[in-house]
Symmetry: C2
Subunit: 216 residues, 2 copies
Amino acid sequence: MHSKPATLGQRNSAAPAAARGKAEAILAAAEQAFLGGGFGAASMDAIARAAGVSKATVYAHFAGKEELFGAVVADQSQRRFGGFSAEALDPGDIARSLLTIAVRFLDLILSPEAIALNRIIIGEVTRFPALGQVFWEAGPARTRVQIETFLRRAAAIGSLDVPDPRLAAEQFLALARGEIHQRCLLRLDVASGPEALHAAAESAVATFLRAFAAQA
Amino acid sequence: MHSKPATLGQRNSAAPAAARGKAEAILAAAEQAFLGGGFGAASMDAIARAAGVSKATVYAHFAGKEELFGAVVADQSQRRFGGFSAEALDPGDIARSLLTIAVRFLDLILSPEAIALNRIIIGEVTRFPALGQVFWEAGPARTRVQIETFLRRAAAIGSLDVPDPRLAAEQFLALARGEIHQRCLLRLDVASGPEALHAAAESAVATFLRAFAAQA
DNA sequence: GTCTATACAGTGATAGAC
DNA sequence: GTCTATCACTGTATAGAC
């Protein structure tokens, strides 16, 4: 997945085993370009230059600017959000576990890279309708399922009183997102520090427990 | 504000009193163009054509594409969100009032025009950092204050038990927004019907009241 | 496959006549 | 102020040599 050992069957003319490397270099350069300034601001010329190849080589690997853009979005979506999990948490210590989830979640969606990705997808989804689906499946849908599963486990052992775990999971995420996510998307909170992140997570957990904590 | 009576002091050469009308026509055409396909996809040529004027006339009224874009965003932001108010509601009938607020709020932010505006601002805020602030002040900030005020009134007469009205207002909006707003931004729910809107509002109110309803 | 060089289309913006 | 015609520039995409 990362890089082949440089010993391959073909070594014809110029760069034998570096073909995969070039494609990766192009993708990496494209990611930086697209995430940095959006679809319109990025130029194929600049991407080729940054990747250390010629423009014609870029077009040899990707059919055009749009396909390259799609490849970047799909790659980033799956790479960013693939690692989120709530399996290892203890449904017994509900407050602590929810706080952990909220912090992880905010840490994920407020990272500059995730914000940039989210921003660019929202901005260009009119031109590329497929991107919304790709992002949703890889990100929010996956995350919601993880939390829903955790809430079901907590409800099963009596830690929580949730009539509708699916809805409760959505609402927990909505509370955690709060307004800080929107503010980051709008570039109003340039650098949301760890303290703001923690405060947002604690507020969300507090209100969620006010609503759904099991009666003692 | 809408249109002058067509009798003005000047009637020199070509279109005497239509100057204001032309500026408005340009702004209207620009709104449609920008909101439809974003900043990059819109061209000054197409805007001029749609407004029924020449490109040079557009540049006579607006310094350039960026200034025209800013004018569109500022105009739309204030026009869309200016009417939101929660003053006339009864803090005694808390469930009903909150539901009304939530429905109004969702109706506002899920309208195709508001979604298009929100989308374009998020997408272009990297290039135009000022837009985020303009939108925030006109929209989310205003709305939150309205609701915070209502919650304070409700808390004063004992309908609610809110330790932090500002935070509670944020959380109420976050619950109402839920995931449907994100889905609309991502173009996954092409047309969120009134029934989905109502359901989202009711879920938000129910959970909010579970957390903050005064004990009977 | 990869490079250099170039054709081509479309854009924002302007000069000058009326 | 308004228009027609045009400029300079940028970015996509390809042709041909290696």
